[in-house]
Amino acid sequence: MLIRETYEAELDSIREALMRLSRMAEVSVQESVRILKNRLFEEGEQLIQNDNVINRKCFEIEESCLNIIATQQPVAGDLRFIFAGMQIAMELERIADYAKGIAAINMRISPGEHIKPLIDIPRMSEKACEMLRKAIDAFLNRDIAAIEEIPPMDVEIDLLYEQVYRELLTHVMQKPEIINDAMMLTFVAHNLERVGDRVINICERVVYLCTGKVVDLG
């Protein structure tokens, strides 16, 4: 029998809430790119509005973490979990903001087909979401070894971003009137590149959770 059943239940509920928030952030990123790719304005509007739900979830997690600190005085691994969990909730909220940003950018791109087929941007999104899943799994399982493969994935995203930027620059040089749309797509790629950076922050929190050490993986 657990001595501190209420406490364990509260820790479990924070764990579950983080898992749900992570899934919501991931779906937001995937959806934002689908919306952009298929020029879906109504769904884009919906995604922008739904971001409030994600923000609220993040605040709820923060509140639960503060409550458990105030009432249960967690220490050691539990304290590191709660501290890291609060920061991860913030990272997830920001990741969802990038998705919201992509949906908003979609509305500022000229109607109709894109200036070029979107190939690398969906790749960036897939890669970023895969990174996110792995990082959150590593956090929930306290598995420091599992994050090793994540920073190289972020490097891949950075390379894709540079590729998108170069490609769009070439297009603009050939056809200056598309400059607005090209800039907008660069912003999209930048947002996805930032998602990767946020996941790296999550990985740093996994290291902290597992070792108590603050590291810079960026």
Binding site: I3, Q73, V75
Partner: protein
């Protein structure tokens, strides 16, 4: 690591045939607060009482290994001299049924100080060090027993300080006090460590985390004998302990 004021090396303590402590090796850093924590019966009070040989008052007690004060083996010292240097404050405030003044002057008098001016100075400085002077200075003739619980405990601390010890041992000094009196004792400890080395036994882990610079975690083995499991800076013990048993205990998962 700070220089050690006291040190145990492979210290074993027996109550008759029962081995209460096994191979305890521990440094007590000078001018720091060291907390000893662990579940009931793990030997933390036995270890604390070893530092001024209080256990010797119990029949059938035997020890092996060494305990040092300033590099000198305490078992080769005169016990009265040792206890002058290593004072003790107990769980329940235990003032003598005497005036506040006489409680504090008791130790110095035992050690031969008769001069009233010197005694008055010692009483005042000890009560000031124990953060009690302002509350009792106008009525030093009042019985120590008439003070509140928190004041009584600070009086006992003043009594311990009056003989100018190097080390103050505190066995659950705040467990019988209300939260405000507890915080006063904790604040006092923080001030006292500038001059004294303090060792505190506490069941209250938040208290250990709040007041101590170093924490020692003890646990019994299969023979129910107390073992030192982990010792380190309090911040490390409470944020990132090395031993999983320490983590389980301080997280409240057993004990």
């Amino acid at each position: 690591m700070t220089e050690a004021r006291m040190r145990t090396v492979d210290y074993n303590l027996y109550y008759g045939s029962f081995k209460a402590l096994t191979n305890v090796t521990l440094n007590i850093p000078v001018n720091r607060i060291t907390a000893i924590i662990g579940p009931s019966g793990c030997g933390k009070s036995s270890l604390l009482r070893s530092f001024n040989r209080m256990n010797e008052l119990i029949p059938g007690v035997r020890t092996t290994g060494e305990v040092f004060l300033d590099g000198e083996n305490i078992f080769s010292k005169d016990v009265v001299e040792l206890r002058k240097k290593v004072g003790m404050v107990f769980q329940r405030p235990n003032p003598f049924p005497k005036s506040v003044y006489d409680n504090v002057a008791y130790g110095p008098r035992i050690h031969g100080i008769r001069d009233k001016t010197i005694l008055a100075e010692i009483v005042e400085s000890s009560l000031k060090s124990a953060a009690l002077w302002d509350e009792v200075k106008d009525n030093l003739g009042k019985s120590g027993l008439a003070l509140s619980g928190g004041q009584q405990q600070r009086l006992c601390i003043a009594r311990a300080l009056a003989i100018e010890p190097e080390v103050v041992l505190m066995d659950e000094p705040a467990s019988a006090l209300d939260p405000v009196a507890t915080l006063k004792i904790e604040e006092l400890m923080e001030k006292l460590k500038q001059k004294y080395t303090i060792v505190i036994v506490t069941h209250n882990m938040q208290q250990a985390a709040r007041v101590s610079d170093f924490t020692a975690f003890m646990l019994t083995d299969e023979q129910r004998s107390g073992n030192m499991i982990e010792f380190g800076p309090t911040t490390d013990i409470f944020t990132n302990p090395v031993d999983s048993r320490t983590e389980d205990y301080i997280s409240g998962r057993f004990g």
